[in-house]
Symmetry: C2
Subunit: 253 residues, 2 copies
DNA sequence: TTAGCCCCTGACGTTGCGTAATGGTCAATA
DNA sequence: TATTGACCATTACGCAACGTCAGGGGCTAA
C-alpha cells in the first residue's frame, strides 16, 4: 500500500507535477521520503488526496480546500454551503451570458422575427459600415471602388431570407472543406463541389462575378493573415487547400 | 470626445491598468499619444472597447477577441457560434458539479431520506473517526479521554433530527454573531443570546457541560488558528467577539 | 512654490499547474 | 560489469489578465 509519485498519479489520475506541487504548498505531504529522496505515499495520503480531488471537482480553490480539510468534518458543511451559494451565482452569471449570446446570434442571423424592418436595415447598414472601416481601403485598392460600392449596395438590398441562406451556405462550405481536405486532393469531386459552393456564396456578396476576381480572392485567403487564420482555425491547411481547389475549379491549375 | 486613460476607464468601467494592458498587447491602441506621453483615446477607440467588452462579457479570451474583431463582421458569427457551443459545455459541467454538491450537502445533512439507516450510521462513524484523526490527540490532552469518548458516543447516538437541528443551530449562531458583532458590545442583549445559543449548540456535542470547559473552548476559538480562521472568515473580529461574549455570559468578565 | 492629483513605465504577485533543463537512482539487459 | 532506459529529484520559466506598488514627471490651483 505504498506508492511513489507516478504510481499515485496513475492511481488518482492527476499528474506527478500536481502531487509535487501539493507537497510544495503543504496541501498533501508524502508519508515519508525514502533513502533516495523519493516521495512515498501511504493509505492515509490516498484518502486525503481523494478528499482534495473531491473538493477540487467542486471547483474550490486549493486555498479553500486547505481550509476546509483543516476543519473538523462537522463544520465542513458550512463551507460547502457557502461554496454552493457561490456556484449558484456563477451559474446565474453564465446563464445570463448564454442568453445574451443566444440573442446576439439570433439577432445577427435574422432568425428571430424582427419587430421592425428598420432594425434589420440598421443592422445591415452597420455591417456594411464596419466592413468599410476595417477593410475599406485595401479592398477598394484591390478591387476598385465601383465593385465594392456595388457589393455593399447588394448587401443592403438583401432580404432576411437571402441573408440567412448565405449564412447557411457559409456553414456548408466549412464542413465541405473538412471533407474535401480529408481527400488530400484539390482536384477531387469534393474539392470541386467545395469550390462551386464557394462561388455561389460569393454571388451573395459580389455584384458581378469574374474568374479573375475569384482567383484573386483565393490568393488572398492564403496571403492575408486574417482570412488565412480564419480558415486555418477550422481546418489546418484549409486556406491553401481552398485556394488550390478554387484554382483547379477555375481551370488555372 | 477625447479621453485620457482614467477618463475612459471611468466611462467604460474598466481599470486604467486594463487599458494600458490592452495597449501593451496591441488589443486596443490609443488614437494618439500627446506631448506629455499621455494616451489619448477617441471615438473609434471607445466603440472598439465596447466591442471588446461585449465579447469579454461573453467570456471570450482576449486572444479570442483579437481574432474575432480582426475578421469582417459577417464571419464573426461563426466564431460566436463556436463560442456558444463551448459555453454550453461549460454550463453542463457546472450543472453537474452543482448537482453533486447538492447531493453531498443533502447527504451530509441527512435531509434526504436515507434508504438505510446504516448509511447514516456509517457516516456518523466516519465523522467521529475523522475528528479523532485530526484533533484526537490535542483535544484529548486538553479535555481528557473520558470526556472525548463520551462526546463521540453521544454523537453516534444522535438521530438524524438531532443532527439537523444541530446544524440549523450552527447557522443561527453565525447570523447572530454578525448581528451581535455589529453592536460592538459583548455585554449587549444580542451577545447574550449568542452565547446562550452557543451553549445550547455545545450540548449537542458534549456529554457534560461545565462553565470551565465552555470558557476553555472560547479561548481556543481565539488561540487555535483553525477555529479562529473559521469564525474570522464569516465575521472579521468574530472569534474574539464570540469569546468575549461567552466570557461575559459565564460571568467571567 | 508647493500641494495634490493626474500620467508614465517597469516589475513583481496572483493560481495551478505544464514544461523543460539538469542530474541522481534503479532494474534489466548486452 | 557497463550501459541503457525508465523513474526520481530540484530549479525555474511560462500561461492569463490584470492588481498593486515603486519611482519619477506633469498640470492646475492656492
Amino acid at each position: 500500500m505504498e506508492y511513489t509519485v507516478s504510481q499515485l498519479a496513475q492511481l488518482s489520475g492527476v499528474s506527478g507535477r500536481t502531487l509535487r506541487y501539493y507537497d510544495q504548498i503543504g496541501l498533501l505531504k508524502p508519508a515519508r521520503i525514502n533513502a533516495s529522496g523519493y516521495r512515498i505515499y501511504g493509505r492515509k495520503e490516498v484518502d486525503l488526496l481523494q478528499q482534495i480531488l473531491f473538493y477540487r471537482e467542486l471547483d474550490v480553490s486549493l486555498e479553500g480546500i486547505r481550509e476546509i480539510i483543516s476543519q473538523p468534518s462537522f463544520v465542513q458543511m458550512t463551507a460547502l454551503k457557502n461554496h454552493y451559494k457561490q456556484l449558484q451565482k456563477k451559474r446565474a452569471n453564465l446563464d445570463a451570458v448564454i442568453a445574451t449570446l443566444e440573442k446576439t446570434i439570433a439577432d445577427k442571423e435574422g432568425r428571430v422575427i424582427m419587430e421592425d424592418k428598420e432594425k434589420f436595415e440598421g443592422f445591415k447598414k452597420h455591417m456594411v459600415e464596419e466592413n468599410e472601416r476595417n477593410y475599406g481601403e485595401e479592398v477598394r485598392r484591390k478591387y476598385g471602388d465601383d465593385l465594392v460600392d456595388a457589393s455593399y449596395q447588394k448587401m443592403k438590398g438583401m432580404s432576411k431570407e437571402d441573408y440567412q441562406s448565405m449564412n447557411e451556405l457559409s456553414e456548408e462550405i466549412f464542413s465541405l472543406l473538412e471533407k474535401a481536405y480529408a481527400t488530400g486532393d484539390p482536384a477531387s469531386d469534393e474539392a470541386d463541389e467545395l469550390a462551386g459552393k464557394h462561388k455561389k456564396w460569393l454571388m451573395y456578396n459580389w455584384s458581378s462575378y469574374s474568374k479573375e476576381a475569384h482567383a484573386g480572392l483565393a490568393e488572398m485567403y492564403v496571403s492575408d493573415e486574417r482570412f488565412r487564420s480564419f480558415y486555418e482555425s477550422r481546418v489546418k491547411g484549409g486556406a491553401e487547400f481552398l485556394r488550390d481547389s478554387i484554382l483547379v475549379y477555375l481551370g488555372y491549375k
